[in-house]
């Protein structure tokens, strides 16, 4: 598990509110028992028509190839809990995502994968989208540790819940080990839960 103090790279604007996980990865591509190879299906139906010909979509634009930071708007990742959505984006190349707001299961899934999902104001997000649109080579730096995003000589504050920020910075974002460690305490608690003890 690695420390995620900052993510730097090219960015890509994915505009629109309420972009749901069915759009990020259509359900028919989830007929698989691994997360391998999902990258090519990210936004598949928005990128290709029924003849598999490319449509107009930011993910198809050459100028954004190699981007690792998604810039999104409100309620990104709403709908299904499928981790296949952030997994597909990560396999495509996403290392961080900044938006006005996220659906909670989606941002939680990102965190579980060590991918910072950070929030900024509508004005800051939209102006960053415009900047990147004009200058796709722009290097964007998401500093998780200092809760700051910078590009060129500009910067603005970003938000991430404190616990999530710490876990990323300290490299403790994979929660399994921590939860398993407490197995004895968990077993003690079980004895106090009425429905696990014949309601006695």
């Amino acid at each position: 598990m690695s420390n995620v103090t900052q993510v730097a790279g090219k960015a890509i604007p994915v505009r629109g509110n309420d972009i749901d996980t069915d759009r990020i990865i259509p359900a028919r591509f989830m007929r698989t028992i691994t997360f391998e190879g999902l990258g090519e299906y990210a936004f598949y139906d928005e990128r290709f028509d029924s003849q598999k010909k490319p449509k107009k979509h930011v993910f198809n634009e050459k100028k954004f190839s190699g981007a690792s930071i998604l810039i999104v708007n409100k309620n990104f990742g709403c709908g299904s809990s499928r981790e296949h959505a952030p997994q597909a984006l990560a396999k495509w190349g996403m290392k961080s995502v900044i938006g006005e707001s996220f659906a909670e299961i989606f941002s939680g899934n990102c965190q579980m994968m060590g991918i910072p999902a950070v929030i900024a104001s509508e004005a800051d997000v939209k102006s960053l989208q415009d900047f990147v649109e004009k200058d796709p080579e722009l290097m964007v730096n998401i500093n998780v540790e200092e809760k700051k995003l910078s590009y060129g000589d500009m910067s603005f504050p970003i938000e991430i819940p404190e616990g999530k920020r710490q876990s990323l910075v300290l490299g403790t974002w994979d929660t399994t080990g921590m939860l398993v460690q407490n197995l004895d305490r968990t077993k003690k608690l079980v004895k106090k839960i009425p429905y696990l003890n014949k309601f006695g």
Binding site: S80, T176, M178, T186
Partner: protein
């Protein structure tokens, strides 16, 4: 501070505060299905971990199972592989599995309640966003991702931040032809698909009090469509009556003690909330969605709204919706021609939904050029419906009668829309491409409205049909 049910249940299940600021929350019941769990088991193997409490996890198959024939092996080799994988995982890790030969298989959110697994005061998790359904029993039920499934398997716990609680308080009784589905569509229309971010919804008041358990399940099911990760109704006599006698319900003697405890966890009359929203449903009409998210809903008697009249952050999605749907602002939704009618999904595939649909189509025929399917939520629902002769009623009307599964709600099996077909659907999501065709179009409505639309070949007001 007098606590609401959510806070009481949360406290009871809190193992400890974690260094990351989250709570380590014990999960009383873990449900898994074939789509989101295989990777989690693989991660366990890679880390050499075991399932900590195998008796607290229950598995079934719903998303990919074909509904025309359940005979193995499936013609779709990928579906067959997923099926074999969950069977292997359940066996290897000692987890109870309800497969298609059990007689108890079905949509995970239908079988949990019908087996009596879902009970008040529990914490429940499942790798499926509609896990909120189980809140109908006064349980706290969360949809989770695959890495979190791994956590629950390995430790029976989740690392979670405590959400806020919003009480949604309703007054008024529902009129004829108006259902719990219409209530939740109205709530989401009012609060928006982002309105619930950061919240759990408590549904309280006269309207929910008078609902059956199956009606409450339809409401809680769609909490997530309003952005709320969970939703619940306080347990009451209706809840206890439903549970009593179910396979995994507390048995005689124990049941009385259970009831006392269940009563004690309900929100008291002076319980406090982070927010309250009031709604009067007295004049509520049947609802239909016109767009590409469940918040874009109107009464069947209303006209499709104009994006120009909307707030800036809703306008763009509304314009995109009209463009995808091929609808015009200002035109009525009533009279919209449909190609497909789908009666099913974890929202509305229970016996009461099928009875209501059958009542409307009895003695009628579906319109020419309409394809109509009924997909019971579980094998037990299917068996009950067949006992009552509902399958025959539907078949005589021209509906196809299918086996249990998620089916055309998310089209992971062969049940899909084709091209630009419009579907009157009792499911929960009208997202672009949701029903299997990238150009397909979904109109969400109650099962009764779906049945009426199938008969007339268009969106109609069910109150004028039956």
């Amino acid at each position: 501070m007098p606590d609401n049910l959510f806070n009481k249940v949360w406290k009871l299940h809190e193992v400890r505060k974690l260094p990351n600021g989250d709570s380590q929350l014990f999960i009383g019941l873990h449900l898994i299905h074939e789509v989101t769990s295989p990777q989690a088991f693989q991660m366990l193997r890679e880390r050499g971990l075991k399932v900590a409490f195998p008796e607290r996890t229950i598995a079934t198959v719903d998303h990919i199972v074909p509904t025309k024939s359940q005979v193995r092996p499936y013609s779709d080799s990928l579906a067959e592989q997923m099926m074999s994988e969950i069977e292997r995982n359940a066996k290897e890790f000692g987890i109870s599995f309800y497969g298609v030969d059990s007689g108890k298989q079905g949509i995970v959110h239908v079988i949990g309640p019908e087996l009596g697994l879902t009970q008040p005061g529990m914490t429940i998790a499942c790798g499926d966003s509609h896990t909120s359904t189980h809140g109908a029993f006064g349980a706290i039920a969360f949809g989770i991702g695959t890495s979190q499934i791994r956590d629950v398997l390995a430790s029976q716990c989740l690392s979670m931040q405590k959400p806020k609680v919003r009480k949604i308080s309703t007054g008024g009784r529902l009129g004829k032809g108006v259902y719990s589905k219409d209530v939740i569509l109205k709530i989401i229309q009012q609060l928006g698909v982002k309105g619930g971010l950061g919240y759990v919804y408590e549904y309280a008041g006269e309207t929910f009090d008078s609902m059956t358990m199956e009606e409450r399940m339809s409401v809680c099911n769609m909490s997530i469509e309003g952005g709320a990760r969970a939703g619940y109704v306080n347990p009451d006599q209706t809840t206890f009556d439903y549970i009593e006698g179910k396979e995994f319900a507390p048995k005689e003697g124990e049941f009385e003690k259970a009831k006392e405890w269940w009563k004690s966890i309900a929100s008291g009359s002076s319980a406090e909330y982070d927010d309250v929203f009031n709604l009067d449903v007295t004049n509520l009409e049947p609802m239909v969605t016109w767009g590409i998210n469940p918040g874009q809903a109107i009464s069947v008697t209303e006209n499709i709204p104009n994006p120009k009249d909307m707030r800036a952050d809703e306008r763009q999605v509304a314009e995109q919706a009209l463009s995808h749907m091929g609808f015009e602002a200002g035109s009525p939704i009533e009279g919209t021609k449909i190609n497909v009618a789908f009666l099913g999904s974890c929202t509305n595939s229970r016996i009461s939904d099928l009875r209501e649909g059958a009542r409307i189509v009895e003695g009628m025929k579906i319109a020419p050029n309409v394809r109509a399917i009924v997909v019971p939520g579980s094998q037990q629902v299917k068996a009950q419906a067949e006992k009552e002769g509902l399958d025959k009623v539907f078949a005589r009307a021209g509906f196809e009668w299918r086996h249990a599964g998620c089916s055309m709600c998310l089209a992971m099996n062969p049940d899909k829309l084709q091209g630009r077909e419009i579907c009157a659907s009792s499911s929960n999501r009208n997202f672009i491409g949701r029903q299997g065709s990238p150009q397909g179009r979904t109109l969400l409505m109650s099962p009764a409205m779906v049945a009426a639309a199938a008969i007339k070949g268009m969106v109609v007001d069910v109150r004028e049909v039956a």
